[in-house]
Amino acid sequence: MKVSRPAVSQHLQVLKAARLVKARAEGTRRLYAVNPKGVETLRTWLDGFWDEALAAFKEAAELAAANERKHR
């Protein structure tokens, strides 16, 4: 992969936050392993995804309703 070391480290932090990987310390190194609870991880991710998507939908629907009222 053509990605710099700090970038990989940053990506791994993201994956860890999303619980896709687990980290453990070994001396000065941090070792990352794939979290085997794939479905649980996926569910957590989808849960956050739908929060974001539906918040945007709500905003768009309410704007459309407000515009319709204005033009009536």
Binding site: H11, A56, A64, A65
Partner: protein
């Protein structure tokens, strides 16, 4: 914001969302189905290689659900399983663990539009059958173990993180 429904505890294979929208049922339905491209976070959640400019649901049972790229290309996400305007929509979501379209996956998204008087609608969304990813858990692990595909996964999550 959306809130999670508390009844029924936590089903590990289902994600449920419920919220009240200050829009009549017909408008809520129309914005969800006809104007998805105006609210779907396309910058982050798309699978094509080019920038996505629209998200489209073909308005009939069996219709395709897809993203359209700025170059005119389309990438399918799923299809329409139930089409009952302006109350009930069921879509299949066939995006696999490696973020590719896979017609055999068939997780389901049910969206109910329930009128709350004249000016508001309760929108209930259920994304279910997530266990269908379970059969692919081994495949998912292989993907994660293969360096080439890591790049794609990392790129996906970087986009989420940057949002």
């Amino acid at each position: 914001m959306t809130e999670q429904r508390m009844s029924g505890g936590t089903d590990p294979n289902t994600v449920r969302k419920s919220m009240s929208v200050k829009a009549p049922q017909a408008i809520a339905w129309r914005v969800f189905t006809e104007k998805m491209g105006t609210w779907w976070p396309l910058a982050q959640y798309k699978i094509g290689k080019t920038n996505a400019v629209d998200a489209v649901i073909e308005p009939r049972v069996g219709g395709r659900w897809y993203e359209r790229g700025e170059d005119g290309s389309t990438c399918q996400w799923g299809s329409v399983l139930t089409w009952e305007p302006t109350a009930l929509l069921v879509l299949s979501w066939d995006i696999s663990a490696d973020w590719q379209y896979d017609a055999t996956l068939k997780t389901e998204i049910e969206v109910r539009f329930i009128p709350e008087g004249e000016h508001a609608t309760r929108v209930e969304l259920e994304h279910r059958h997530l266990d269908r990813y379970g059969a692919r858990r081994e495949e998912m692990r292989r993907i994660f173990d293969t360096e080439g595909d890591w790049g794609r996964v990392l790129e996906m999550f970087a986009r989420v993180a940057a949002a």
